[in-house]
Amino acid sequence: MNKIRRISRLFAAGAAVLLFFAAVAVLATPGAETEAELVIYAYDSFVAEWGPAPLVIPKFEKRYGVEVKVISVGDAGQVLNRAILERDDPQADIVLGIDNNMLSRALEEEVLQPYRSPNLDAIPEQLIFDATHAVTPFDYGYFAFVYDSEVLDNPPGSLEELTDPRFRKRIILQDPRTSSPGLGFLLWTIAVYGEDYLDYWRRLQPNLLTITDGWDTAYGMFTSGEAPMVLSYTTSPAYHVEYEQTERYRAALFEEGNYLQIEGMGILKGAPHPTLARRFIDFILTEEFQSEIPLTNWMYPVDPHVVTPDSFRFAPKPERSLQLPAEEIRKNRDRWINAWVKQVSR
């Protein structure tokens, strides 16, 4: 190798090293980080640019003149997981995203401290899903089958009707082992059919196109036209109305009722800033917070006085809402799921 090439190579290497360190420096400097006075763990879509956090957090910060840090930790399950992992030395004050199906687990692990906010008085009784007030509800939704009205002109009106042969291979579901709506639907069938739920599933099975790992895949397949029906939320159509100006996607309300999902947040035991945390719990039940929920989180606000946007006309609420008691879920969930897997694997 002659000299010139050697030198130029050395230069290139040196430049690369310099660039590298520059990039490291840029990325590694934490930026002016003042001590946050409240730390919240939330699921990812809450923290996202189009989620609730960018709208509601500044409001709280302004009102109390504090700095709040919201950290995304993945999905709702992960939120609880982090809380459990950090139980001896909590790094956050509030965990956000614990729903009625997860409640038993959260209480079992004893990672939350109860607090009954005075603002709870304005909230309907049936939405307060934790009597110990370790978890305070902030929004709720119903699972529902969302269908493409341009393909399906005769949608089902009940769970039972879902098994009709005309829906053969036209339904996309999610797996209860890996997806929260999936679990929700399983519990839904149990709430309606009790221990005969396996028989229902036997009858439903021929109508299933596929069972996916998560809601995202299922919904993606639905909008791609693979099947005209997918398990989702009653609020899903509202998104398409609001942002895509189309009313073709509709939610089906069932005679037997739709299954209810309530989301809440709680204060961690041993939280570094308990007083401020309580203020935040109070805050989430105010109109300032609740009014942002519909269009950012695509759920219903627990505060019944909040006016939902126009597009929510297409997010109907069912007459009957179904729920299974937390204790019952805790005791039987694994058994139910295992039996389900066995049944559906035939």
């Binding site: 993945g74 493409d148 895949t217 919904y219 998104y239 694994d334």
Partner: protein
């Protein structure tokens, strides 16, 4: 090959008096060992220990044993292994002709095609699923075109939601692994052996099985081992494209236990079982590879005939058919995803073409651009770290003789046999106690990615190291090259093409990694896959496809650059 009566020496001989040799070797191992200890074994152990201790903290195999005794899990384990075997066979079958074409022929756009066919490997599974569904699905492009063409009422090709779909998707994912790994060795084998065989009357399949196959066997086994492990840990694809829980793999249950049921004890035990299975298979592969490696005269820059000239013959027709089929399986889903990203609204009816999402991505300051920059940064670092790590370990593995060295090699490969969910959890758990922050830092992500990627480099490099002719190393030694110089100036340069492949894949693995990243990221450190996941979680499929297209583009460019830097093709 030795003459009768003389022992066959495959590599550096054992030397009582080569103390400097083994000393240097030991030192070489020290740095990688420390790194792995800190960033793999420690976090892994802190999670897996949960699966090995009962509630009072005593060591027990009870949890794992009860899992193995449960027919539910046994069935799942059985299916997991079975589909991995089938997928591997299909991937190898699909990839071998491609490897051959790449190794033995010259054609226009070779570099482009090589880079292009590597892209599927890095795609997050959600993108793969979307692409497959939109192309092969009942309402996909393929069926709709056929229905329009032949005036059919029902979709004629029901490919998806079956075992075939799983195998096909796996082959799609892993095709580049087979092609790259095998071709990088194949092109080094002098065509003279094949020519000699041809002059003696062998041709076609016979030629392949008797002459070519034994020569490329180490690389083939490497590729098969990697593909197998990836398929073993496959998760979303199996569930969605298979059609339901009938096709459940281990990873689904690990995911369920770790993320939904939050039962880390059972989840760890299951992951442990999965790791042991992976280990066993890896060990078997390594042993096989060792037996099948013999030193070859390596060729460099042998003259290659042009593919275009071949196309007239019968063989050429075969090649053409193969290329078309591969274009269908490999390119079509990717193009579908890219096409989708140019839509304005979801659903087929809305055909308005729009660059809306690209506008959003490229507007500075947005989180999208940050995600892109982060992903590239992490990928480059991962590549820079995992290359030396993997190469060193591969070298030591290929040159060491002591008993149990094969087992050690298999253990080195462990990270790809471990669910990345578990690894991510391990990072969270293990580093909690430390005084300095690890979670939420850029280096934790890089280290996690490196740990996941380096076994790939090992596998690719070791095939080449094993095949190096001993007379070359002896010549270098006689000229004064000590063990370090030997490695640095002879064996490393000669393994260049394998290392390029390793680098490309390390880059790709990092860019596409989702599970560990999800555990470790924060707003500033968001990566493309996490962003895709986030977009999908809020109905933004088009945006997700746009990010996916950006991911594809960058990987494509990166592969082009890496290949060019290595100067291997053409």
């Amino acid at each position: 090959m030795g003459k009768t009566g003389q022992p066959l020496e495959l590599a550096l001989p054992q030397g009582r008096r080569t103390s400097s040799g083994s000393g240097t070797l030991f030192l070489l191992l020290l740095a990688p060992a420390v790194f792995l200890l800190l960033f793999f074994y420690f976090p892994l152990g802190s999670v897996l220990v949960g699966g090995l201790t009962d509630s009072s903290g005593r060591f027990t195999l009870g949890i794992a044993a009860s899992l193995l005794g449960d027919p539910y899990y046994l069935r799942i384990i059985g299916f997991t292994v079975w589909q991995a075997i089938l997928s591997t066979m299909l991937s190898v079958l699909m990839g071998l002709p491609g490897a051959y074409l790449l190794a033995r022929y010259d054609f226009r756009g070779k570099r482009l095609i090589q880079a292009l066919t590597t892209v599927p490997f890095v795609l997050p599974s959600i993108i793969v699923v979307l692409g497959f569904v939109r192309f092969f699905g009942n309402n996909g492009i393929l069926n709709r075109s056929l229905m329009a063409l032949f005036r059919l009422e029902e979709p004629p090709l029901r490919i998806l939601y079956s075992l075939q779909a799983i195998l096909l998707a796996h082959a799609f994912y892993n095709f580049p692994v087979v092609v790259r790994v095998v071709s990088s060795l194949w092109r080094r084998i002098h065509p003279s052996t094949e020519e000699a065989a041809r002059s003696l009357g062998a041709h076609g399949l016979r030629l392949f099985f008797r002459i070519s196959l034994p020569q490329i066997l180490p690389a083939l086994l490497s590729a098969a081992a990697l593909v197998f492990i990836f398929c073993l840990l496959s998760f979303a694809i199996v569930l969605v494209l298979g059609g339901g829980p009938r096709y459940t793999t281990l990873e689904v249950e690990v995911y369920r236990l770790a993320k939904v049921s939050l039962d880390l004890k059972t989840g760890s035990a299951l992951a442990l079982i999965g790791a042991v299975i992976s280990l066993l298979f890896l060990y078997a592969y390594i042993k096989l590879q060792q037996r099948s490696s013999f030193a070859e005269q390596m060729a460099e820059d042998a003259e290659k005939p042009r593919l275009a000239g071949m196309l007239g013959s019968v063989r050429g027709v075969f090649y053409l058919l193969y290329l078309l089929l591969m274009a269908l399986v490999i390119l079509a889903p990717m193009i579908t995803v890219i096409a989708y990203s140019f839509q304005l609204r979801s659903g087929w009816a809305q055909q308005a073409i729009s660059l809306e999402w690209y506008r959003r991505i490229l507007s500075g300051g947005g989180p999208y651009l940050r995600a892109v920059v982060n992903s590239l940064f992490f990928a480059c670092l991962t590549m820079l770290l995992s290359l030396p790590l993997g190469t060193l370990l591969a070298y030591v593995g290929a040159r060491s003789r002591f008993t149990g060295s094969r087992l050690l090699e298999a253990v080195m490969m462990l990270p790809i046999g471990i669910s990345s969910i578990i690894l991510g959890l391990g990072y969270l758990k293990a580093y909690r106690q430390l005084p300095w922050r690890i979670v939420g830092t850029w280096y934790s992500i890089v280290f996690a990615h490196t740990v996941i990627a380096y076994p790939f480099v090992i596998r690719v490099a070791s095939a080449t190291f094993r095949k190096m002719k001993s007379s070359l190393t002896e010549a270098a030694r006689s000229l004064g090259a000590g063990p370090w110089r030997l490695f640095w100036r002879l064996e490393l340069p000669m393994a260049r093409s394998a290392l390029i492949t390793g680098a490309a894949f390390a880059f790709g693995i990092s860019v596409g990694e989702i599970n560990a990243s999800l555990m470790l990221y924060n707003e500033r450190l968001i990566t493309i896959p996490v962003m895709i996941y986030r977009l999908i979680g809020s109905y933004n499929f088009i945006g997700a496809c746009a990010m996916g297209s950006v991911l594809m583009l960058f990987c494509f460019l990166a592969f082009l650059i890496i290949d060019r830097a290595g100067g291997e093709i053409g």
